[in-house]
């Protein structure tokens, strides 16, 4: 038979909760800036809460932003609502990407340049499944070492190094029927 307990209050303890450290001058570690009033907020600087006006908080985001009140944290709005959002990336066309700079101006770059900087070949400017747009690049047709081993690209494609360049081959073509690339083999191979 298991024993059981009757529980007593811990002697000398109280049920009172401790004061929250959310006053000016209190110690802190926080990346949040909670509102003090309509246009100022607490900011954790050098491990202590200090008061900051929302204008200075928004200025930290760059010259494109200005203060628009405080709702839990300072609200910062674009000074030019019709302009782009800094750091936003969009496809200008199927092979050109544009990044919004701090002055809300779009700066375009060919994806061929973006991919070349990464040592890859251009696929195009595309959106991912979350709708985020960017240049997509691939290793297909890029240089490989003669000693490079076959490698699975995805479940249905294998990359082989031929004449110093990566060549992508559908496993279905290798096997003459439905097949998948098996990365667990040494080296990777199409499982026919």
């Amino acid at each position: 038979m298991l024993p059981c307990f009757a529980v007593a209050l811990l002697l000398g303890c109280t049920e009172q909760e401790a004061r929250l450290l959310y006053e000016l001058g209190d110690p802190c570690r926080s990346a949040y800036k909670p509102c003090l009033d309509d246009d100022s907020a607490l900011s954790c600087e050098s491990n202590v809460w200090v008061e900051r006006d929302c204008a200075s908080v928004c200025a930290e985001l760059g010259p494109a932003y200005g203060p628009a009140g405080c709702d839990r944290e300072c609200v910062c709005e674009l000074l030019d609502p019709s302009g782009c959002t800094p750091n936003e990336v969009t496809c200008v066309d199927e092979s050109t990407v544009a990044v919004c700079d701090e002055a809300q101006q779009l700066q375009s770059t060919p994806c061929s340049d973006v991919c070349a900087d990464a040592g890859l070949d251009e696929v195009g400017c595309l959106a991912n499944e979350d709708g985020e747009q960017s240049c997509w690049c691939t290793s297909e047709d890029t240089p490989c070492e003669p000693s490079s081993m076959p490698t699975c690209v995805d479940d249905a494609t294998i990359a082989v190094c031929e004449m110093g360049a990566w060549v992508f081959v559908e496993c279905q073509m290798v096997c003459g029927g439905p097949a998948v690339c098996d990365p667990l083999q040494q080296p990777a191979t199409c499982g026919c």
Binding site: M1, L2, P3, C4, F5, A6, V7, A8, L10, L11, C13, T14, E15, Q16, E17, A18, R19, L20, L21, P27, R29, S30, A31, Y32, C44, N47, N87, V89, V97, V99, C100, Q107, T109, V114, C115, A118, L120, V123, L126, N128, E132, S134, C135, W136, C137, T138, S139, E140, M149, T151, C152, D154, D155, A159, F168, C181, P183, L184, Q186, P187
Partner: protein, 367 residues
Amino acid sequence: MRPRQLVTLSVVSLLVACDSGPALPLSYETEHLRIHTDPDVPLCAGDLVAFEAIIDRIEDDLGFSIEEKVSVSIWPEEAWKNAREHYCPTDPRVIGCTSSDGTVIHTTRPALEHELAHAPIPYLAPFFAEGLADVYSGVQLTRFGFTAPADNLAISAVEVDQRTARHFVRWLRETWGTAKLGELVRLGKHADKRFADVYGLSFAEAEAMYFAEAPYGYPSLNTCDGTPLDFMDDLGGWRTDIDIDCDTGKDVHTYGTSLMVERTFVIPAAGYYSVSSNADGILLSRCATGPLEEAIRSSTFLGEDVPPSYAGEIDEEFHYYEGGSIVDLHFEAGKHEIGLGLFGYQGREVNLAIWPSLGPQPVEGKP
């Protein structure tokens, strides 16, 4: 297979009575523990190893050991209310309790590690007891709290700010070492008033130093302790087979109603890597390398394929992917942990391969 975010409230009960209550059958016995569980909810060999490791770490660090085997009852959550009413404080926030002599524990699985850490440690003010139990559970990261340590010294276990308690205790451990912390624990209920006997400064002076110098956070003591994977030159990555056997695998543990095993590897340079496993699911995270000096926002790592383990506020963060297909994921450089999971308790051999991606991938342009 998602982590349960919860606030562990446990109480070290002071008085022992003798009326009978519900009971669970004895299911497992280890060097220090007699574990009673619901027969339908098994534990694995790796769980038992991990439970003993908690006790061993407390003995190594603090010098307290268990003299008498601890009776541990792990209640199913649906039976916990009834069990709590018999064995623990009636406060519905309590999800575990340990007898004052450390010989009997009643709890649910999520709070078990915390309760096990209470068992070897003698009576202390709840602020220290709860902080020690959270830190030495091994599974909980810590963050700078919202209240002052001194304001918690006279507060009961159910009301103490556990966030502050565990971070302060962890800071003591990291700043002055485990031997001093053991000395403090030996002071028992006098730990706060005789704090200077151990540390050479008053509790108020230590608190001021904590406010000025403590980092934003620490990873859990057990963070990323999975076995390292061997690098395979032919793959330019990692490839392995793992037998997930609940009964014999010393690193196989339960994870909710799943089986899980962890491995670690170091990504040499940020980029896209392909991950393939025939496990039912995989958990991926980037490991902390030490204290977290800078505060982070909870949204900081939203959308990252492989978030840092320390992105969470209470539990360690990770991203879950279904097994079966090759997935291309962006990794930052550094040490990572992968958990391989199987739904249910039926084990089998699983495989894993991780290698640099060759296929199409998004590349960010520079503004």
